[in-house]
């Protein structure tokens, strides 16, 4: 049973535009959420997180939004850069259920 879902396996965005990656979860007990970025042949690297007591967390070009009632979170990247091209995973704490990943391609 996939408790964390990323329904878009891929996304293409023009350089400079906004990238929006979405994630849905089913377990209302999750109280901490994280986004990871993964380049080919490397392990995932932590990107940004959000606690359930917040609905928004911003770090530079990256902003994560949490909608607890909808059990939905999203990652916004503004402006998108070619170096952002990677697979992005959302994750829910503590059992660490990962989504299936969204492959983002930023087109120069």
């Amino acid at each position: 049973d996939q408790q964390v879902k990323q329904n878009s396996p891929s996304l293409s965005v023009q350089e400079g535009r906004i990238s929006i990656l979405n994630c849905d979860y089913t377990n209302s007990m999750f109280d901490y959420f994280l986004w990871y970025k993964k380049y080919p042949a490397e392990g995932p690297t932590f990107l940004i997180s959000i606690s359930s007591i917040k609905d928004k967390n911003e770090d530079g070009r990256f902003t994560v939004f949490l909608n607890k009632s909808a059990k939905h979170l999203s990652l916004h990247i503004v402006p998108s850069q070619p170096g952002d091209s990677a697979v992005y995973f959302c994750a829910a704490f503590t059992q660490f259920y990962f989504g299936t990943g969204t492959s983002l391609t930023v087109i120069p």
């Binding site: 704490f93 660490f96 299936t100």
Partner: protein
């Protein structure tokens, strides 16, 4: 954050053999985690390795198939035993960092033929 050295980075193994994956951390950590990513699927937690005690396995994973060693606070190994093509995956070790962020090794890409 911790730095993890994981090896081998990739291997091609014969059916029925075993492969041991090593993870070395540059600092002492209580808990280490082993994950598997099968093609087209999400990362799945295999087990949690605590120093001085047996690893805790997630549902669907057993010690006979994935024995884990944790001899000290900076090192762990995962063995994939009696391999079959279904074991072809990327295997990753991980340690907890600050603010709930986790640091991952670079992964081991295993192909079983």
């Amino acid at each position: 954050s911790a730095v993890i050295s994981q090896k081998p980075s990739r291997d091609i193994c014969q059916r029925g053999t075993s492969l041991t994956i090593q993870c070395q951390v540059d600092s002492q950590v209580t808990m280490m985690f082993w994950y598997r990513q099968q093609p087209g699927q999400s990362l799945t937690l295999i087990a949690t390795a605590n120093q001085g005690s047996e690893a805790t396995y997630e549902s669907g994973f057993v010690i006979d198939k994935f024995p884990i060693s944790r001899p000290n606070l900076t090192f762990s190994t995962l063995t994939v035993s009696n391999m079959s093509p279904e074991d072809s995956s990327i295997y990753l070790c991980s340690v907890a960092g600050t603010d709930y962020g986790y640091t991952f090794g670079s992964g081991t890409r295993l192909t079983v033929v």
